[in-house]
Point group: C2
Chain length 352, copies 2
Amino acid sequence: MAWTAVPPFRSMTPTTRMPATLAVDIGGANTKAALLQGMSLRTVSRPFEVWRDREALAAVLREVAAEAGEADAVAITMTAELSDAFRTKREGVAFVLDAAEEALGDRPLSVLTTTGELVSVEAARARPWDVAAANWVASALAVGAAYPDALLIDTGSTTADIVPIAAGRVAASGHNDLERLLAGELVYTGVLRTNLAAIAPRVPIRGEWCAVSSEYFAISADVHLVLGHLAEEAYDCPTPDGRPTTVAFARERIARLVCSDADQLDAGEIDAIAAFLAAEQLRHIEEAARRVGRPLPPQAPVVAVGAGAFLGREVAARLGRAVADAPAGWGAAGAEMAPASALAALLAARLC
Amino acid sequence: MAWTAVPPFRSMTPTTRMPATLAVDIGGANTKAALLQGMSLRTVSRPFEVWRDREALAAVLREVAAEAGEADAVAITMTAELSDAFRTKREGVAFVLDAAEEALGDRPLSVLTTTGELVSVEAARARPWDVAAANWVASALAVGAAYPDALLIDTGSTTADIVPIAAGRVAASGHNDLERLLAGELVYTGVLRTNLAAIAPRVPIRGEWCAVSSEYFAISADVHLVLGHLAEEAYDCPTPDGRPTTVAFARERIARLVCSDADQLDAGEIDAIAAFLAAEQLRHIEEAARRVGRPLPPQAPVVAVGAGAFLGREVAARLGRAVADAPAGWGAAGAEMAPASALAALLAARLC
């Protein structure tokens, strides 16, 4: 493993003249940016599904960067290469690098690898598999700099990253998505975009098990909205039926999972389905976290970040582990987009 | 139960002057029509996803009817009301009835209920829940007229209908979709449109279990295409990535289920994933068929129809049951769209 830790944020003081660094985390459904200057972190998030209109990516990157503010240097990381807008990851990486160079290339631009290096765009082009899906490495390095032993659980809109930190080093056993799925370090469940049909094959209804429809009728954002885990404004991805992100419409979407509607099921019955599915998501993350965290000492805390940090904290309780704060300086918005926040700091540290 | 059997096709002879009857089965993703005149059955199928452009439904019905040919009377049945183009089934049924009346209302028009009645459009409007998702009843009545005891397994593009026939009568315990999901009589798995992420939470890869991505990356048509169960031309629904329906592209889609691509996994590894998922679909149908068929005598055969009849036949073998032919007169095309074929005959029998 070639991962090395970076100094934690708290070692940076406002009196040091720090360069302004911009990090952009280019996902398949969301693009997130963090601008760090000294102790000040500014974050921007933009829902953008690359498969809908990949040609718009450069424009989106330009907008997000402009909104974040002036930067002396830029680093990017990506997961968008997995989108089926591209036939292979190689093609996807090349496309994202082109768009990033076009939109952000007027400043020094580097790309994160899965071993924690920051490499040039040219080097990234030559090693597409090393820069694909590397964003979790940034957060893991930052956590490793703050805590000698920890279990990072970053639960986002679509996936959960579970990364062990041991003796201050990233102790993950997988590098790419496939290795990480096999290891339990990548769990494809999140608090916004997950199709409920992919969470459980059956749900309880009126005291019985009911098999579910496999259509794209409702998503995890509907579940967490009706359960009060998320506010309406946090539901920032498209709804499956194109209707509003209110609790009433979310209940209609969830009812359709069992081929029903709001005439047929009452709110209590629908909310019971939601509660079951949230518990199933929790169980999936818990099982993976138990497996990934097994080598860690019992006192290693969980660092729970992401839009679904509430799930990571609950997993910590089930594992009997303490919950530790995200690395200082991220704040609530930074912890929601840990890879971008951490990558901005990583770039700043490398520049100094 | 108010279901009554109709005379089987074979009681009709070409010398009898029969009215030409048209049946249209209006689904959420496909519209199917069957025109029956004497012993001659003509079928038409049109992929049409009602949520993409519901206003086009009347035009699609008009085209499908014109392609099927001149009819003296028309009967319809539907499952399209479940589409999230509509907030409730009530709204969906009303919309479909309006479109049917507009497109097909120049001839006597009737609507199938879940108890096997053919009612007027006005009566259907007053009882929307009785005409929603009734299409399986037509096939079950026809099977009941041909076999005193049987287990109908109609495996379509999206779902499998499993209906017990006992003593010549439809012995289903559920009427509507929810009751049928609860009873195992409706299984939401099919041979074309099922998201692979909804078939199994993990797949075998290189001797290990690998959790899957929950995105809409690949569907059951990809699986059955690479396994040789389906021909390219049978893959008549849109592909998830918009690329062609060839084996090579299907393999790329399946690789993406484990966040991989054709650079990372070879054909043998991808086909092993496909074989596992096909076996899982089979297991789901088998489990439901065991449960639904439990009250039937051992000599009751399986009548396997639908685009996925190959799965129904394999389930019969696992259950130790014989496979019986579809009711005479359907032919291969008719058996692929059993509800429309059976409904055309049901209407003809009612008219005589």
